[in-house]
Amino acid sequence: MSLGLEHYLILSAILFSIGLYGALAKRNAVVVLMCIEIMLNAVNIAMVAFSRYLVPDVVVLTGHVFAIFIMTVAAAEAAVGLAIIITIYRNRHTVDIEQADLMQG
């Protein structure tokens, strides 16, 4: 059995779902950030796999380039995200998002 596009897409779908579940259900803000990284990496897998299998025997590089940009931007986003989590921690000595409930309604 050889690996085809569908195997990569299934892997990507599983990773994306794990990431989405974690991002919505976890209480620790740092874990939520990690789950978002998992979602973005799932997209990277899909991008590169599409790029590789799109046209038989021809490698289209657009998906690879896209994946590199996603990684770069994700790093910048994580940096700002961690800075915001630090200000939250300084304000209330916890990074539990369930307790970030000053504003409701």
């Binding site: 986003e77 800075a83 200000t87």
Partner: protein, 478 residues
């Protein structure tokens, strides 16, 4: 490579970097605001000089046409007004005033690039340039509310951009290109049966992209962040978020959907998606806004409702609908900015955003109260304000496309919205003042209040000044 086409963005980034560097040597931080505002004249001048240009450069990544220039002008103007009205507000932060102005400018650059790209990778990069600057700006006050707002905005924004990327991955995977015009060629062969269902993977990609962009424009069901972020963020940033970020979001939606998925066979399908989302957005926004006691939160729900009205124009797939969206965004920007600037002026003195604290405000500051009331009336859509003309135009476009049910819902919603806007007006004019102290207003505040209120009135009487521009802007799309 034609750097002339990129001149507005390049000059804007130059000014932003200059502000960061000058921040190191200038003691008087007010000077930085002056540099930012007068610096913005350079990109605005380049934008006006480029008007009429119709070119793509950087292998299709940059598209300069009247459509993108219209939005660039709008976003630069909003950014200038937001910076002018921040001058008094920034005294709240002891440090980092230079970074505050620079981040607004960088975010403006990102929003401008969003409006003028014809390619998925650069749409994503521009969107993130705008969003990451905004995450930092929203949590700029660093107090519990502001940092909580920043956390919520950042987490939900990151999730929505992941969803948007998955959509882009599927569109790229099924069409083999990230260029919008090449996607359009492939889409017409994919849906040869004449229905979006012919290609489930494409449908999946389109729906995920709607979800990703829906977050930016604050449409249901991606609106959960709006009230909390609007309440917690520094008020000038709330104003910026509610108009500039929404305008750029609609610009991207218009370009992506009309260029890439514009063929007649499927445009009715995504038009229906926007019609339904729009109807739910305005109903939810208006009904929940009634119960609010905080004015920033109330305007947050009103912004969700306005996203719904603008989507009526997206659902009406016609030239009238497209130019209506552009005109509505310009009018909404003026009215909403005017209301927010008045709120900034009042909260600089009272330190409160609760509607009950606005009691009797007309006796403490007749001019600011009148402008606030006037802008709220424009948001309801009562003549002679721009809000009325914008709604009239966009609903007319929808009626011509047989979307009568949508227009009925929209008009009913406008009636509901009158209740909560007029409640604020009533509190301002009929309530007893809590103190006799007048609300001071500095010269920058007066200038920005004057620009927005005169704009609301003039565009309400002579709408064709902007309507003509909007009509020439949308001829880009077939």
């Amino acid at each position: 490579m034609n750097f002339w086409l990129l001149s507005p963005e390049l000059s804007l980034c130059g000014i932003a970097l200059a502000v960061v560097l000058l921040d190191l040597v200038i003691e008087q931080k007010k000077v930085l605001a002056v540099i930012s505002v007068f610096g913005l004249i350079i990109p605005i001048a380049f934008t006006i000089a480029l008007w009429g240009e119709q070119q793509a450069s950087f292998s299709g990544m940059l598209v300069v046409d009247n459509f993108s220039l219209f939005f660039k002008f709008l976003i630069l103007g909003i950014s200038a007004l937001v910076i002018i009205s921040s001058v008094d507000y920034v005294k709240k932060f002891a440090r980092f005033q230079g970074e505050y102005y620079a981040l607004i400018l960088f975010s403006t650059g990102g929003l401008m690039l969003m409006c003028s790209t014809g390619e998925l990778i650069s749409i994503y990069i521009a969107l993130e340039l705008a969003s990451i600057s905004l995450y930092a700006l929203v949590s700029f006050l660093k107090d519990p509310k502001s940092s909580e707002a920043g956390l919520k905005y950042m987490i939900l924004g990151a999730i929505s951009s992941a969803v948007l990327l998955l959509g882009m991955a599927f569109v790229f995977g099924i069409t083999g290109s990230t260029h919008l015009d090449q996607i359009a060629d492939k889409v017409s062969t994919l849906v040869s049966g004449g229905q979006l269902w012919d290609s489930p993977a494409l449908l999946f990609g389109i729906v995920l992209m709607v979800a990703g962009f829906g977050f930016k424009i604050a449409s249901v069901p991606f609106q959960m962040w709006v009230p909390d972020v609007y309440e917690g963020a520094p008020t000038p940033i709330t104003a910026f978020l509610s108009v500039a970020s929404k305008a750029a979001g609609f610009a991207v939606i218009l370009r992506v959907f009309y260029t890439a998925f514009g063929i007649e066979a499927i445009s009715a399908d995504w038009g229906m998606i926007f019609a339904v989302l729009g109807a739910i957005s305005m109903t939810l926004g208006n009904v929940v806004a009634i119960a609010q006691t905080n004015i920033k939160r109330m305007l947050g729900y009103s912004s969700i409702a306005h996203a719904g009205y603008i989507m009526v124009g997206l659902a009406a797939i016609s030239t009238l609908g497209k130019s209506g969206v552009l005109f509505f965004l310009a009018g909404y920007a003026l009215a909403n900015l005017g209301a927010f600037i008045a709120i900034i002026a009042i909260s600089n003195k009272t330190g409160s955003d609760e509607i009950s604290d606005y009691s009797g405000m007309s006796r403490r500051s007749p001019v600011i109260s009148f402008i606030l009331a006037f802008c709220l009336i424009s948001l309801i859509g009562i003549p002679p304000t721009v809000g009325f003309m914008a709604k009239f135009y966009i609903f007319n476009a929808a009626i011509q496309q047989d979307l009568l049910w949508l227009v009925i819902i929209a008009v009913l919603n406008s009636t509901i919205s009158a209740y909560y806007y007029l409640r604020v007006v009533k509190v301002i004019y009929i309530g007893e003042p809590l103190s006799d102290e007048p609300i001071p207003s500095s010269i920058p505040m007066r200038v920005s209040l004057a620009i927005t209120s005169i704009g609301v009135l003039v565009l309400g009487i002579y709408p064709w000044i902007v309507l003509r521009l909007a009509e020439t802007a949308v001829v880009t799309f077939p």
